[in-house]
Amino acid sequence: MNNKLKVLRAMRNWSQAELADRLDVSRQAVNAIETGKYDPSLPLAFKLARLFEMPIEDIFDDGFAGQE
């Protein structure tokens, strides 16, 4: 699944480690989500949405947006 995490993080000038601390996850978790190697659980996706003050679908793209 594609996501804008890297861009959103860069806009705030946070390192992966800083974002990981804010989410209370490991730096490897942030890296894996950013590179698309791991899709976060729903609770973590909501946590990201709250942190960036955006809807989940503005952060993550499953490739089916607008096709329904």
Partner: protein, 205 residues
């Protein structure tokens, strides 16, 4: 992307704990080598507990110093992260405790051998393992984040498959005199190794 922040790792990092454990292991090896050398030249070998105890003392002292030098970094950690690392260190200590007990009880020789043990040693090691693993697993699952839990589950499934594939094949091969008798520790090590490799791959790739 031109405005990417430079990546850096929060906290003190893993290098020193790994180095401390490796140095402690090397000290235990040096004690064993020295003791063997004494025995070969007709001297009195060192007690079997000397090397493991020296390594344990060195590792504990090194870790205590490491924790003290980095105490400001720990203060900023979340309760989850602290619990995670406490569980990690406790689990490693558990393994070291079992290895030390076995080494002291059986004297020299391979730790994974099938050499006889006294009932007391078997009971002590079993209790440490059962209670320690149960408690450590409980705390581990309360402390991991979902990415690591995912890696752990995949590692566990891979380890399980390694066992269920290898064990019956070895068993029938042994019954047909094509292989030595099934070795519990060999299967244990295989399961653990596959589990660890897959877990590390999914956590750090």
């Amino acid at each position: 992307m031109t405005n990417m922040p430079k990546e850096r790792r929060a906290g003190p990092g893993y290098l020193w704990p790994v180095a401390i454990i490796m140095i402690a292991g090397a000290v235990a090896g040096a004690f064993a080598g020295y003791s063997d050398g004494l025995a070969e030249t007709g001297g009195q070998p060192l007690p079997t507990w000397a090397g493991p105890v020296a390594a344990l003392v060195l590792a504990l002292a090194g870790m205590a110093l490491y924790i003290r030098l980095n105490r400001e970094a720990w203060a900023g950690w979340s309760p989850r992260k602290r619990l995670y690392w406490v569980t990690m260190v406790a689990s490693m200590s558990l393994g070291a405790g079992v290895a030390l007990t076995l080494q002291v009880a059986q004297g020299s020789g391979d730790l994974a051998s099938d050499a006889p043990l006294t009932p007391a040693t078997a009971i002590i090691v079993s209790v440490i393992w059962v209670v320690g693993m149960s408690v450590a697993s409980l705390f581990y699952f309360r402390a991991v984040d979902d990415h690591e839990r995912h890696a752990y589950y995949l590692g566990s499934v891979a380890g399980f498959h390694a066992f269920v594939i290898a064990c019956p094949v070895w068993w029938v091969a042994a019954r047909a005199s094509l292989a030595p008798p099934v070795g519990a520790m060999a299967l244990f090590v295989l399961t653990l190794a596959v589990n660890l490799i897959v877990y590390l791959w999914f956590k750090y790739r």
